[in-house]
Symmetry: D2
Subunit: 341 residues, 4 copies
Amino acid sequence: MNFRSDNEAPVNQHILEAIIQANQGFEESYGYDRYSEQFTQQCQQLFQAWCEVLPLTTGTAANSIAMALSCPPYGAILCHEDAHLNRDECGAPEFYTAGAKIVPLPGEHGKIDIKALQTFLANSGVHGEHESMPATISLTQCTESGTVYSLEELKAIKAIKEQYGLALHMDGARFANALCTLQCSPAEATWQAGIDLLSFGATKNGAMMAEALIVFNTKFNKQIKRLRKRAGHLISKMRYVSAQLVRYVENDLWLELAHHANSQAILFSKQTAELVELLHPVEANEVFCRLPIELIESLQKQGFEFHIWPGYKDVIRLVFSHATQQSDTEKLIKAVSQHQA
Amino acid sequence: MNFRSDNEAPVNQHILEAIIQANQGFEESYGYDRYSEQFTQQCQQLFQAWCEVLPLTTGTAANSIAMALSCPPYGAILCHEDAHLNRDECGAPEFYTAGAKIVPLPGEHGKIDIKALQTFLANSGVHGEHESMPATISLTQCTESGTVYSLEELKAIKAIKEQYGLALHMDGARFANALCTLQCSPAEATWQAGIDLLSFGATKNGAMMAEALIVFNTKFNKQIKRLRKRAGHLISKMRYVSAQLVRYVENDLWLELAHHANSQAILFSKQTAELVELLHPVEANEVFCRLPIELIESLQKQGFEFHIWPGYKDVIRLVFSHATQQSDTEKLIKAVSQHQA
Amino acid sequence: MNFRSDNEAPVNQHILEAIIQANQGFEESYGYDRYSEQFTQQCQQLFQAWCEVLPLTTGTAANSIAMALSCPPYGAILCHEDAHLNRDECGAPEFYTAGAKIVPLPGEHGKIDIKALQTFLANSGVHGEHESMPATISLTQCTESGTVYSLEELKAIKAIKEQYGLALHMDGARFANALCTLQCSPAEATWQAGIDLLSFGATKNGAMMAEALIVFNTKFNKQIKRLRKRAGHLISKMRYVSAQLVRYVENDLWLELAHHANSQAILFSKQTAELVELLHPVEANEVFCRLPIELIESLQKQGFEFHIWPGYKDVIRLVFSHATQQSDTEKLIKAVSQHQA
Amino acid sequence: MNFRSDNEAPVNQHILEAIIQANQGFEESYGYDRYSEQFTQQCQQLFQAWCEVLPLTTGTAANSIAMALSCPPYGAILCHEDAHLNRDECGAPEFYTAGAKIVPLPGEHGKIDIKALQTFLANSGVHGEHESMPATISLTQCTESGTVYSLEELKAIKAIKEQYGLALHMDGARFANALCTLQCSPAEATWQAGIDLLSFGATKNGAMMAEALIVFNTKFNKQIKRLRKRAGHLISKMRYVSAQLVRYVENDLWLELAHHANSQAILFSKQTAELVELLHPVEANEVFCRLPIELIESLQKQGFEFHIWPGYKDVIRLVFSHATQQSDTEKLIKAVSQHQA
């Protein structure tokens, strides 16, 4: 019973079938296939706006190309200190931007603290060319703590972004999960909230290896294809990536899958509300909770798999995915309840 | 009838089935899956040697990480002027090496001219730190002209590499096709011929998106996983890449597929030997030939697809792949023969 | 009366004369001049050890090449959050290392907090290749707050560096000032304290444009000349840089100049001890103090020049240099005393 | 008697005096000094146009920042195969551009062959994002072969640059020498000839360490100061660099010095016209000539210093500089004449 990561889950059956369907005869290579074209159209409908769409195979690539498009080498990227692009990409943003500076900011529950952001920007610039020039704010939605920025919170960041003329990027590795929580349209959650570039994740939510960088602002899509190519991310048989994406958003499959994942996390947290201490509010498909070490060991022995959070001994992360079976969630709830009783 | 590119061919059915088979339940992510492990073992058997194996999704990534491993930023990469990594990767090797210099060398039929290589190296160094330091020789096997370096030719390059203490890389995007021609063991064609790093291609020869960087020399595998990660090439659900590779080399499928492709090219070139002028010897699965413009147009009208070679009006490239049907090859032969008659 | 920066001070007369002396006839270019050779020998005597010496014209270049030598692109540099290389070099270390990650650490009075350093390192590595690999600790001596790490404090950092197998770099833009305070030998203050690479500053302390990167550990001097060249820092008429350095260390001129600067800062801080609030202990040639805004304005009107510290309205930095006249220091003391009285 | 390099010559006395003069009291640091300001004004008068002026200490830095301003990482730089930035900068342009591709072009006497340039550009683009995008043409004036592009030749390159929308850079390490030969105004030789960015050299022609990047086209001066800073090229006491430049162009000193150097080369080549074989026309201050090996050895024994050209045994380069004494030139002529007689 795997609650370790949505990356360990299998591919959703519909998406696998779409790949199989795409395997018919010859098809133009290097991204000029019919599926890539179709997915761009789907995105433009979905987001009710022009957008440039770049299919990719990893979120790190999507984030990094977004940074390369929006932040010059002498620029600075402002993000939460726990942001994936600060902590978990082995310097990929620094690599793709040719050495931009990441400025890690504090904030509760994985969200950038608005005051810290304002203070940093207000003080920046006094030292002229000696400082990296703030260029891009990147936020993760859902955050690395499993929380979701509200539309209100996004609005506050949008105001700051506009005041300082910055680009705003959203790392949406779990964008579908966030959207289910926000219950708004994709447009409201992104470009209407000031997002210029979106890393649109599909892999964690049921695809095999399919992400897309979606650029809403024409200021930031220059030579995007060359950036993909020179990073080695132009898959020659791109049809097999894009076919995943096409099916992912078809008939709201993506939202259905995310809704399932979220519902399992919420089920768990509600049923165990009086038993476990949550480190962060449960707003999507992840639960970070403190448990007695004894219970953690007991759960492991019973075959529940999860990560003990780095830096802690008594904090675990549970990830619920599109593939989590409710019966497994219930077994987990039962196991926790019995121990605490 | 597609003779444009092996990248436009569909995935081989056995490999597709391997992907489907891999879609069972949860599996460790980020390259720590059973298939990645298995493929490493297969490679060590296949090449009869220790080797580090890094599954990837593109040849550009494999080539570029190979360059980053073997050539420092102040180093130079020596390759044929038509090498994919010089002409067709939009500066990826320069990007991954943080600015190494590519030194393009001339040579007939896509092969580095040995004398040009020797002359360059003999003259280099006189200007000390003002010059980039020769670090890596990269050769493509099969070459971009569809030819194959003989073991003799490789031996000559090996001697030079050893004399100057350089690394030797093989871009084996079509390595299987070359091996069929050489009729030697994988070991003889690679590390025994002095190859330190091999970009082992599978995509063009039937896989969906699967390549591997294989490092035979422990001098060049330092932090190879971090290089993959920070380039955004660590696929989270790596099992679906590695499962392709596992099946690709199982039961000699890779050689069977390459043999078919080569046989079609040879069939075509033999049957039309007195009718068409070849630009390069046909030694694998590609044919570069000069045809009357009238014939080129006629073939296009009959539904034959191929590239007219950049810079020419009367030269076409025909690529025969694992998926080329012999009946199509025969139709093409017939169409050429009738016109010339 | 300039207390703004030691960078605004003129060149010491002895050093200027050394430049004039060097202007005799022809001399080998690109660093192969007699002065560069002589300075290397002087350094080896001064530090009582083998060392590689690379004359340069800026501290940013010295720091950045030190980072490029010791930290790979996938590595991390640990330094104080106020370190010059984090705050004031517009991303130069990220540029020279091809995208290494800077990890800013907290700490009082400009010194890296030992516990924060230990905690970061103890927690690092759990996420394998997803994390940048800690490679280099960089500390500034004197710090950006005008304080000096004691030999005890350096010892604690050395122990950590050795435990984790890291490189240790010292940004010694004001190394002479620190040495005067420590009253130990250059060897004790550097390689005996675990320093592998030293940015040896001379410009702020009386030279025109002369710094040197000094490498004590042969692990970190590979291709150091190529790194200088490709950064555009190989001055063709290097004799004029090295002649400055030769004179700077001759007859203890460097220590004499630094001693003067320090003595002025100490004179000021002692004479005003009961009148001004110090933000940091005064341990070298800089004073950071809080003053009534009224007094600040009054001093400015009287012709005293200094920086109001970014982010504050009532904090100023006073820099005393080799060129500060004691009469000016006394005028400043008097002006402060009279106002406070 | 040094004919090896103008980099080995001493500093002109007027320029040295200007440095000494600049050493008066305190002066604003980091490029905000009065001399930097004055030199910008002088340039604008000299070139009769708006221009951004960036004082630097090396030509490699000037060239590299010019490339970083005009060529993106996915771009290509077209230059002569012997261009300093291709052969003698250890990959500096690749470094500063974050991996742009240098395309070396052939051409007689160090000048880019116009047809080769046209052919390359006409064929480029067919492969879309797979190719680096041509962005900048860089030419050296005087060339590395000591020749000078005529205004006619520059006009032809300008037409190509405009046709393809490229930037045009001039590496003017010996710009003064070229200007003396062209006998036209600085404006005619640069922006009126289509030059967008000029590396304006002074060091080889009498300065100590002073070059400037001059940008005539506002499209290419964005964040130029941040690029200088993050490369470590912002000299803190910049006044001492800019004071050299101010004096260099004052009262036509630069032209006077260059004229002297050129006149010596011409004197030598005329007097020995029937005795030595020239490899390139002598159009400025350098002579490349083939001599009997016996004579070369004899000259060396007589104390004449020069470079035997790499790759040759019987070709030498003679460089005549602002500091060459006519009596030495005459001795050299005599020594050659006597031997040949």
